[in-house]
Symmetry: C2
Subunit: 365 residues, 2 copies
């Protein structure tokens, strides 16, 4: 069954197109879930990097945005997002201090920290530590950044001693990005945040914010150990989330619109949506380098910078894409695909109804 919702005339190929209605439904559904579970929703802006989408999220009830870099915080803050959390253990080098100071004049700023050394660096970079709130990162099993929950007090003490307001603790259950891991990751997340709150409580430190949440775990997260959700991918979803069972194909709101540029052998077609459009992400458990919603039996078996090789041998010959055809492709990981684009074409009712700049693309610092 062909899924024509991403198709519109006059879209240059390759482009990233957004199904406006699916996007709005995704934003509303997550906002409703958070409200019903009495959780604050703070979507991660690194997924869309797009002020127009941040505005939709805030209008739907988000308390603010999470971001990964000061550059992203500046772009969203300058476009009217009034509350931004840099959910990253910032190392306040170079111009980071002055930039945070300028931004704090119009944005309630929070930054992550997972070491006393990082706190000390931040203190020295700022003329006034009251301009920025700190939240301590704890590790819930991803083994990336974040201290073990039991060690949260040492970082919290450093923040308080330096004069920062302490917001609480945060974690990222990123090990939810693997088949069958969602429930375990969510349990790990709740346990880690609870342990950290206990450790801080034992040290006499209050912990109002307990921030967690990823797209795979968000929908099953209820009130209790967690007070705030930070999912990112859910606005668009992607091929990975379909495989993980987080969403249906209908709930994927972004696709690359690509062209069949070559059909050099039976059962093989080649699209112009390569790794510089879709992003090269391919976890070991993904069945291909993306997914063609209009051709469920087709498989993206090879990806180079400007070529996506699609095996259509399992597709009915009469329904196979032909040379010159336009084809929609879901990226495996939408965050890296969007970061490669300069704009998103917003499609509704078979027409391009808007063009939104990916304003924070490349804002890596």
């Amino acid at each position: 069954m062909a899924d024509h919702r991403f198709h519109a005339p006059d879209v240059p190929s390759p482009s990233l197109v957004v199904d406006r209605e699916a996007l709005e439904r995704n934003i509303e559904a997550m906002a409703r879930h958070a409200a019903e579970a009495s959780l604050a929703l703070r979507p991660h802006g690194k997924t869309h990097k797009c002020p127009a989408i941040a505005t939709l999220q805030v209008d739907a009830g988000a308390v603010g945005l999470a971001v990964a870099t000061v550059g992203e915080a500046e772009i969203f803050g300058n476009q009217g997002v009034g509350d931004v959390f840099v959910a990253y253990p910032l190392w306040a080098d170079a111009d980071i201090g002055p930039r945070l100071e300028v931004l704090s004049a119009r944005v309630r700023l929070t930054v992550g920290a997972d070491s006393p050394a990082g706190i000390e660096r931040l203190r020295r970079a700022l003329s006034d530590t009251s301009l920025v709130r700190v939240i301590v990162e704890v590790d819930c099993g991803l083994r990336r950044t974040g201290v073990p929950p039991a060690d949260a007090a040492s970082v919290a003490h450093a923040a308080l001693d330096a004069g920062f307001e302490l917001g609480g603790v945060f974690t990222f259950p990123g090990h939810s990005y693997a088949p069958g891991m969602r429930d375990e990751a969510r349990t790990d997340e709740e346990r880690a945040l609870s342990e950290a709150v206990e450790a801080l409580g034992a040290a006499g430190i209050d912990c109002p914010v307990r921030s967690g949440g990823s797209t795979p775990t968000a929908a099953a997260t209820g009130p209790g150990a967690i007070t705030e959700l930070r999912p990112g991918v859910y606005v668009f979803n992607d091929a990975q989330q379909v495989v993980l069972g987080t969403c249906t194909v209908d709930q994927v709101a972004l696709a690359a619109l690509a062209t069949v540029v070559s059909a050099p052998a039976p059962g093989r077609v080649v699209l112009d949506s390569g790794a510089k459009v879709l992003g090269p992400d391919r976890p070991s458990w993904a069945p291909g380098h993306g997914k063609l919603p209009d051709h469920p039996n087709a498989r993206v078996t090879g990806l180079w910078e400007h070529h996506a090789v699609v095996d259509v041998s399992e597709t009915d010959p009469s329904a196979r894409p032909r040379i010159g055809d336009r084809v929609a492709v879901f990226p495996n990981h939408v965050c890296t695909a969007v970061n490669l684009a300069r704009e998103l074409l917003i499609v509704s009712g078979g027409k391009v109804v808007d063009r939104w700049a990916v304003a924070a693309a490349g804002a890596n610092r």
Copy 2:
């Protein structure tokens, strides 16, 4: 042994930095090899996307540039590169025809084709087929684009019938990007081009250009079946090429300069050079998500958008990177890393001596 050639004060983190001397040596070495082997050198510009580097390549003797998109051709052509080959089976949709016409006024333009349908589309998109030369793509074993060599004549006939000048044939031995495959891929490439030349000869069609070449195969390619080399990666090299044995660590000319932002557990440090800086490429045979030249025993075991997790447990404790330290990281695949950046910082003698715009970053069409 610390490799300090990428380090300079006042480089913001993360940034892509280029060792000016290593870059110049790489450009000169490939130019010398091509000259000695009587091969035309047409470097692929998708690696650097940087007019300043194209100029160095042309000044060293390159006949022109290969590119993947009309957008890249425009950017290099507008900066003075007078001969550009879009080495891709272009599907001349939308504004491609008028753009090629404008560009042909100042650039000798060649485009790839691997189907009569693509040729017909190109003919209809142009007011005058004499403005563009066509080269037929053949497949030498990568199973991507390109017709089988024996079928080259059907595409060549379509091009000639449409009034295009026929330049010859080209192929890409991309299966050389795997350990132990270089010599086989090079033999496949020579055989495919020879077979295509024979097939065209039997049809009475002359074939002056036989274009091949990839960074792994280029140095071992001599005159004969091939008349033109199109390597891209060699200007910078990368972690993959070190693993493949194409280059030494000293011949890698580009690194991400990153900061240790977290050291949350013994033997683990985390850098701010994530997948949005290094690119997410990781072939199955790569030992990690990049390489730290200053720390040969360290391994990049995890990569997220803004985090590179480095296992330093095999590194002498006294020499391990500490929180706040600057560290150089070679990307696995330099082409996708450069496409993520907006500028390259050129370092020489421990100082930033130039800043070059990655002018064609994101030029996907």
